[in-house]
């Protein structure tokens, strides 16, 4: 997958795979859960990549691997061309930082706000006490936290304020990349847009690159520059935001987009009208993982796994509908008939 711009990607993943071994009970047989399955990803400086997918499709697992918090079973993550395991924890933490979903568990209840935000500075020995305090105050102002809360504890803050603390902590060492895993899904609707707008402003001010992970397309519609749709551990479609919303290709993307139009998107997992439930990642369907729910499946989808088909102008789609007949090993009419 090659982008339209020719600058090198700031972050890149190749063949990223994560499997977990599940053992049920003492004597139960071991099963393998495929959380992420050979995923490729590249991210360019200044991009905001929205990764969208249902619960359990491996979004958080992917984010942990991109953050270097979990080693991939296979594949490699590179930041600035260097594999993350070679970067070293301290240096890595200054390149990429997370923002979490749950503002209630993301802050240590026993620490003051000031000490939470200044931890990265203290840990890396940046500045002296006075300059650190200044830095913290400045960052608090940037994320819209009143300076009087500095001496307070997380329990005294609202959900939105806690999320601002989380953001301040992530940005205090000026990382290049910020990975937000469901940054607003635990917040009130009224607060959500404030936080999203702030993330947008911070990106422009601090020259950041974002990955925003969500199950809700509405979150990334106005924020992201590019959308990647994830299904059962793979990115099944990737396109620039406008093109994606204007002309979604993958049947799953279309179903997701339709669900955005329903009033129920705030309920967490969108009702996709796809009938069958999300497949069990410990037992993925053969062929195309989406075929049991796909309205457009045709002969062979339950046997032959699709390959990524690049789209003109960037992005790709992973569906046999778009494969050339030779690649799909199918006669042409089958495809045209289904479309």
């Amino acid at each position: 997958m090659t982008g339209t711009r020719d600058d090198a990607p700031i972050m890149e993943a190749q063949g990223l795979t994560k499997t977990y071994t599940l053992s049920s009970g003492l004597l139960g047989k071991k099963r393998t859960l495929h959380a992420v399955r050979g995923l490729d990803l590249d991210l360019r400086r200044g991009d905001i990549l929205g990764i969208v997918g249902e619960s359990g499709c491996g979004k958080s697992t992917l984010s942990r691997m991109l953050l270097g918090l979990e080693a991939p079973t296979e594949g490699v993550v590179r930041i600035g061309g260097q594999p993350v395991e070679q970067i070293g924890r301290a240096a890595l933490s200054r390149k990429v930082q997370p923002i979490f979903q749950d503002p209630f568990s993301s802050l240590n209840p026993r620490k003051t706000i000031e000490s939470i935000i200044s931890l990265p500075l203290r840990l890396h020995g940046i500045g002296d006490a006075a300059s650190r305090r200044r830095e913290v105050r400045e960052m608090m102002e940037r994320v819209g936290l009143p300076s009087r809360v500095a001496k307070g504890y997380p329990s005294q803050l609202s959900g939105g304020q806690r999320q601002r603390v989380s953001i301040a902590r992530a940005l205090i060492t000026r990382p290049e990349i910020v990975i937000c895993d469901e940054p607003t899904s635990a917040l009130d609707v009224s607060v959500q847009s404030q936080i999203l707008n702030m993330l947008q402003e911070l990106r422009d001010e601090l020259n950041l690159t974002y990955i925003v992970i969500t199950h809700d397309l509405a979150v990334v519609e106005h924020l992201a520059t590019e959308i990647a749709v994830m299904y059962l551990g793979r990115i099944v479609e990737r396109a620039e935001t406008e093109r994606f919303f204007g002309d979604p290709q993958h049947p799953y993307s279309r179903a997701l987009l339709k669900s955005v139009m329903t009033p129920d998107t705030s309920l967490g997992i969108p009702e996709l009208g796809l009938g069958t439930a999300f497949p069990d990642p410990a037992n993925p369907p053969p062929g195309c993982a989406f075929h049991p729910r796909c309205a457009k499946r045709f002969e062979g989808c339950d046997r032959i796994a699709p390959v990524p088909v690049p789209r003109a102008g960037g992005g790709h789609v992973e569906c046999r509908l778009f494969e050339t007949p030779e690649a799909a090993g199918l006669p042409d009419p089958a495809m045209t008939k289904e479309r």
Partner: protein, 307 residues
């Protein structure tokens, strides 16, 4: 509560009663904390300042003044021997009972704190390591805990003491090396719970080492559970010491251990029951205060008591 006037509606009144009840229960929670804390602090002060509280020597025998009854025997039974010189009487060797009780508090408290310190270090280390790292480390540590749990404390203590002879040090060592299981089990589950919180992941993402995460992110959040377990174990240790000493296998005479005093007073039970009751009450109060303190800490740190 001010709305509970004559014009208050029924539901308002109910609400105010409920509010008052929750206020009372909160007060009760604090009361056990206060009683336990103050009581224990008082006993600690008594133990520390024992030499200032009494003019007798706890080991000084005086065969001319044996078995003097406590002062109230003078008041109620007109016993001429009772007097202010020995307000709580003397034992069969003529040693001042008040003095021995006061010095006995030193032994009980010293044993209690030392055993808890030792077992807390062992148990917390094992529990936190098992909970934090999981996997094979957890399996090994859980096996050690199970092994320990399958050993009856009293039998092991008796066996060890009969080999090495009882003494203060041996009692502390044996109990400390035996009573860490609750620390390990509780700390493991608390650590597991805290480890899954996102602030621990955030600390890792920021570049904190495992040691730093354990010390600065996990430990401050286990402190409450630690205090609660510590009070339970302290009470247990104090009772075990008294029991071992009572059986003659713990602290050896002439040290004024309360358990030993109970044993020494056993032959006197029909003639001078107070010789049994006094160390019994002392032991009871100490254990009660320690337990109240633990209850109080648990009450004020219970989820609904938190802001």
């Amino acid at each position: 509560m001010t709305t509970a006037g004559h014009n208050a509606t029924a539901s308002e009144r109910e609400e105010s009663i409920a509010r008052r009840r929750s206020a009372i229960s909160r007060y009760l929670g604090h009361r056990s904390l206060v009683i336990g804390g103050v009581g224990l602090a008082l006993l600690i002060l008594i133990a520390v300042f024992a030499p200032l509280l009494t003019w007798h020597d706890p080991y000084m025998q005086d065969l001319t003044s044996r078995r003097i009854p406590p002062i109230w025997h003078g008041w109620f039974y007109d016993n001429p021997k009772a007097g202010w010189l020995h307000p709580l009487g003397t034992d069969p060797l003529g040693r001042d009972y008040f003095t021995r009780l006061v010095y006995g508090a030193r032994i009980s408290l010293f044993v209690g704190f030392s055993v808890v310190a030792l077992s807390c270090v062992i148990g917390t280390t094992l529990g936190v390591l098992a909970g934090y790292f999981g996997g094979r480390i957890d399996a090994v540590i859980s096996f050690i805990v199970t092994t320990r749990l399958s050993m009856p404390v009293v039998l092991v203590a008796l066996a060890v003491v009969s080999i090495f002879d009882g003494s203060l040090q041996v009692v502390i060592l044996v109990l400390g090396l035996l009573l860490w299981d609750r620390f390990a089990v509780v700390m493991r589950s608390v650590t597991l719970q805290i480890k899954s919180q996102e602030f621990v992941t955030a600390a890792r993402a920021v570049g904190c080492s495992n040691l730093r995460i354990i010390l600065t992110e996990i430990m401050p959040n286990v402190a409450n559970s630690l205090i609660i377990v510590a009070t339970i174990e302290m009470a247990v240790a104090i009772i075990y010491e008294a029991s071992l000493s009572f059986l003659g296998l713990g602290i050896q005479p002439p040290l004024p251990s309360w358990g030993l005093m109970l044993a020494e007073a056993r032959p006197e039970i029909f003639f001078a029951a107070w010789m049994i009751t006094l160390p019994g009450i002392a032991l009871f109060l100490l254990v009660l205060f320690v337990n109240l303190l633990g209850d109080g800490v648990r009450d004020i740190t219970a989820p609904e008591g938190r802001a």
